[in-house]
Subunit: 424 residues, 4 copies
Amino acid sequence: MTTIDNASLVTWRRQFHRYPETGWGEFYTTATLIKILEEMGHHVLTGEQIINPDFIRGRNPSIVEKAKHAAKERGVDDALLERIGDYTGCAAIFDTGRPGPTIAFRFDIDCVNVQETDTAEHIPNQEGFNSTNQGYMHACGHDGHMAIGLGVAKWLMENKNSSLKGVIKLIFQPAEEGVRGAKPIAESGILDDVDYFACGHLGCDIPSGVIVAAPERYLSTLKMDLRFKGKAAHAGMEPHAGKNALLAACNATIQILSLPTHGEGMTRANVGVLNAGEGRNVIPSYAQMQIEVRGENEKINNYMTEEALRRARGVALSFDVELETEVMGEAVDFIPDDEMTDYITEVAQTIPAVKKVQRTMNFNGSDDATLLIKRVQAHGGKAAYFVIGSDIKAGHHQAKFDIDEEQLFTGFSIFTGLLQRLSV
Amino acid sequence: MTTIDNASLVTWRRQFHRYPETGWGEFYTTATLIKILEEMGHHVLTGEQIINPDFIRGRNPSIVEKAKHAAKERGVDDALLERIGDYTGCAAIFDTGRPGPTIAFRFDIDCVNVQETDTAEHIPNQEGFNSTNQGYMHACGHDGHMAIGLGVAKWLMENKNSSLKGVIKLIFQPAEEGVRGAKPIAESGILDDVDYFACGHLGCDIPSGVIVAAPERYLSTLKMDLRFKGKAAHAGMEPHAGKNALLAACNATIQILSLPTHGEGMTRANVGVLNAGEGRNVIPSYAQMQIEVRGENEKINNYMTEEALRRARGVALSFDVELETEVMGEAVDFIPDDEMTDYITEVAQTIPAVKKVQRTMNFNGSDDATLLIKRVQAHGGKAAYFVIGSDIKAGHHQAKFDIDEEQLFTGFSIFTGLLQRLSV
Amino acid sequence: MTTIDNASLVTWRRQFHRYPETGWGEFYTTATLIKILEEMGHHVLTGEQIINPDFIRGRNPSIVEKAKHAAKERGVDDALLERIGDYTGCAAIFDTGRPGPTIAFRFDIDCVNVQETDTAEHIPNQEGFNSTNQGYMHACGHDGHMAIGLGVAKWLMENKNSSLKGVIKLIFQPAEEGVRGAKPIAESGILDDVDYFACGHLGCDIPSGVIVAAPERYLSTLKMDLRFKGKAAHAGMEPHAGKNALLAACNATIQILSLPTHGEGMTRANVGVLNAGEGRNVIPSYAQMQIEVRGENEKINNYMTEEALRRARGVALSFDVELETEVMGEAVDFIPDDEMTDYITEVAQTIPAVKKVQRTMNFNGSDDATLLIKRVQAHGGKAAYFVIGSDIKAGHHQAKFDIDEEQLFTGFSIFTGLLQRLSV
Amino acid sequence: MTTIDNASLVTWRRQFHRYPETGWGEFYTTATLIKILEEMGHHVLTGEQIINPDFIRGRNPSIVEKAKHAAKERGVDDALLERIGDYTGCAAIFDTGRPGPTIAFRFDIDCVNVQETDTAEHIPNQEGFNSTNQGYMHACGHDGHMAIGLGVAKWLMENKNSSLKGVIKLIFQPAEEGVRGAKPIAESGILDDVDYFACGHLGCDIPSGVIVAAPERYLSTLKMDLRFKGKAAHAGMEPHAGKNALLAACNATIQILSLPTHGEGMTRANVGVLNAGEGRNVIPSYAQMQIEVRGENEKINNYMTEEALRRARGVALSFDVELETEVMGEAVDFIPDDEMTDYITEVAQTIPAVKKVQRTMNFNGSDDATLLIKRVQAHGGKAAYFVIGSDIKAGHHQAKFDIDEEQLFTGFSIFTGLLQRLSV
């Protein structure tokens, strides 16, 4: 029994779409979530209650400060900002008061660094809910994920006197893009008592009406920044006096991209960004690289990581430059638990909007929910990650991306259906 | 006979030091020069009167617009700005009215992109004439060059009824840094009737009291921007679908920096700046490189230029990316005319502050005055480039650079001394 | 009914092991096979009867001449050598005289360029059948394949009056190493009427007693030689006058090894051999590279081939050197026909020495039998490639490689078992 | 007074031309020299009497063994071979018995690895004294140097009762090509008492009739072999298991060739030879590189050497391969002593065949005589290296190289003229 319908989910989704925030800067978003959840009557944790600061990755302090400031300007009161502190995200902890399993769902809350299209046919433009945060956009569906999460939260309150048992934890995770936010949540221990864990993703090139119960080939990945520091010199007068960090970075790029593939499974390596040098006639004294490696499993990913670092160290020696490395994000592969896959399949088959339940697909990408799943499985819990098919207007992370809002209710129905089966 | 003393030169120099402007953005500086020169009674040309727009190099329109706007905000009136138009720099044309040779002197007016030091012992800080234009600084002595040029202009007016003959042209050249501004001045034709040409440079690691009459080894150089355009793709899901512009740029860097040296003389190549890529997990679709090559003479420089471009084109083919190249600046080598060298030597020996006149030194750098010189020599004129020794507090282009202001009068004395010998 | 036992197979195998010959040089081996087969009473084709010379790959004329000469010295008579002509390999065509299917089996006959170990525990040393051809060794099991093939040939003669129907073709293929010999056999048309095709391989890291009926992931591959021709120059006196082929090859290596992986499946690239340069103080004028690419399927292999060639062409442009490319070998992937897989499974299960029949494995390598299979399948035939497990003493192509000779009879039993099912 | 005329020098030169031997393999040549010198009556040192084995460079034991064997086959008796021992070269020590200065001349005796042309117009072919040692040729004029040396030796004997004073040492040095043989001679101490040292070179692009008394810009150079040892692996099945020495060598090449030039003078770097890899489908486990660096002076050469080694070590770290380095040869720059230059000038001016004495030229190459000179100068001696102009038919080290035999007598005249001035 619920008052939630698709329209309520759409309203929330559009509210979040209007003001997207990038990873670790979701202060306005977090404040909005907390206010809505607490108005519903939920007990909400935030900041260091769910984040272990020792495992923070890929957090840019200047972005955090700007985002905090913007949140304040948008009316978030000081007390709430202070409560959130330095780390975004929150979790509603719903205790039924009856003995039973502990269940956790993960909803991610950050946006991507994409400028939303201004074309007229783009529905957010037509309906007036396009991004008002210049250069940022919910172009990966996390606005929809949050809407579904709030729907589930509302449903829990509406059904708190039903036969639900145990504890339900709704995790609103920051910084999924760049696979940065899950690690410190996992390391906070908040999932260590979880028996069942699930999360879902809208879109993923699966059409509306289809649910994929247990995608495979989530790639293990490590995201790193490499920084080379050399010594500037006048390129005409004393080129020999410089230590060329740009040339080091080019050699590191070439060496990392020529890492051998692995006989046991798929590998990837990318140098996505390279910025180096202070001026045309100066031997460049610094270079910054954003790189990532991936592997079909954790072993292969570790191989890629170690070899990439070995190349970087060798290059630093070659060019007599200093090397700094910083882990910026990570995710692992995982093996879905058949029990959870079966539950999702059964639940999905009862939903009228679902035309087809597909057992698996190649995900071929990474999501740091896998780190939460790994933590849950390590403590004996069962976990699932399913895809909620949704026709999309353009690929994920593109300026014309838009979800099929009808599928918000499909997602909501799977999560609440799972609760009806598991929370007993 | 002159009222000019070192104090007047120092006043001008400090005025310019206080508001440095970068190449092609010297609107406030140009307006100031024009006002002072016209108050003295000079006939002043500016904008397209001395600049051939077809040969403009390394001019960033957004910097130009900002600089124009800033000049307006600093009180330059609209009429003057309109007269200057899009191109900075000016020239005072002094016609004695008596038949005689045409003589031209070059003074450069732009600054470098360096943030001036805030240390207390830095004299501009002590005396309150430090740069007020954040991120820019006269750290190459061009403020002093302008002061000397104004001194010469004043001296001309004071001596207009003397025995001076012919026409004297004082060229205040924009955008010497990056060797950009001389080419369009040369191509304007304004120097084509010049019989004698001279310019001087303060500092250059030569101590106060020493004059170098005819430095050698001005390097020919070409400055280019290379831009590669590829195709973005998700680095995990479809790496094969991308065309990697960053990797192309790294290979171009490696290929250009491994250009063979030349058996007939010195070569240089530098990739000073490289920026590429839109995000860590995207096959990078663009890359921008700022490069320069140099050669001991024009032939060797042309060899380096052609080979560097060949490497860039090969890389574009290898990685199936588009290549755009843009010439951003250039300078050539030159052979001083003995006649001019002798005049400078004789004049310098008569100046009390000059302790030593040294015939030559290795300049080992580039100045686009060489393009003006080449033009003058091609039309049968004689040319010289001399160094006015000045103790400096730090190397050229460094934050603590400062000249010995006493040497402004030395520079002034050489130019006016030359006029007394040549303009007869 | 047969007189063939394992001992007869071992005798043949040891005979071939004693004198291994490299691809396209198997003159003594071919002559031996022809003599034995004709003594049995077989009709044997050789040379251009089974080879289409237009599709010859990776054949080194000087190796061919040396091998021919050696065969003559070892007593092969001129008439037989003339009959073989320029191209090694042969085929026994056995016509039962009764209408029925056409069946073909492939046995490969060349060795690898490895010097056999001289350690005492190596059985060929103990038993005195080690290689007498310096630098060459049957270290891939082809000696065993030939022994099995001769066993099958003998069995056919012994059973020619039985119920066997149709035509049986036993193909003794040259130059499998480097995947060179199958293409010209396929293009000779000799397999175009084949209804059933099979071949098997000993070893492949599968233990004795196990048969793998239908291995998967045969990689498509292309083997190429790249040759760069530049211009020599004295590296001290006029480095600029050279065109550096060695540097071109190094850049080609780096570019080819950094080819992006493919989102749809496995890729490989290798530069296995690089020889370049005429002397320490000379700008190198030539470079030779032996490369190979692989892909999980033909499309991916073609992608790798095209991109590798694009890189090589780009490098040739960059360094102003000439590029020659030559295809040296190729193989494709294939999909086993279930009907054949089932037959092999059933036959294998009846063989006492077989403890386990495994349906599949990842082959992860290449064999140009796939080109024969592709030709057969294109004409409507069914094909299989199975693995005959054999404990080995060291990996394939290693100096201590040795097969478990007991498994020769297992291989023989599968082929003859297949004939009993198919030739009916 | 002498019986030596040009014809006697030509006879010797042709004798040596007929059987050229490569560096450290000049056993037949050394034996011939010793026999001729001893027949004249000279006291001759050889082997370890003039070679310090601790400083041997670039000596290939298998070439040495073959050359020794060949010398024996050509009739050199065992006693003489034993006396020479492992190290070729010899020195005639001529003691006048009268007090006076010690004077040393250097003549180099090795050939280059070039196959002499077989064209009819090549004089050695016409006159029947072409090389009979396949693949080797006196294509650098050392045959002429030896002839001159023997002429001087003969002249000494003919003039032993004249007014000559002091000691004269005629050094016949092995392995000048690759700048290998001088170091161990210098380190033997045989030159430590030398007051005047001279050597000359025929050709060098200076025409017949011209003597260059004191060429400049002898480049300092270091010749090194780099060897990388990695680990082989099957490139298809387990590429990750290899350690790619070929890829390491390619990266080392690229890094070494992109060494920055030096602000204070000329630099060179070359990778002249690269051989790597065992087979197309194997991750290459070894690579061998022949490299050299040069610098305008010893400081710059040391900079190049250190930076090249740093690059090599960095690459070894990057690719987890072992690095072996071996110094194969070296030479330094030098400053001629004016006193010696003047003597040579004066002597040359008295020789009828000399049309012009030129003071200097850019040598732009390397000769390890500079190491002998350095040793002499370090002990207070004076040294010179002059060029004996000779029209040549093709550049040094080329198959059609041939000297103008008339100039042998010119060379002889300078050396003997020097003795008449110095040995007094």
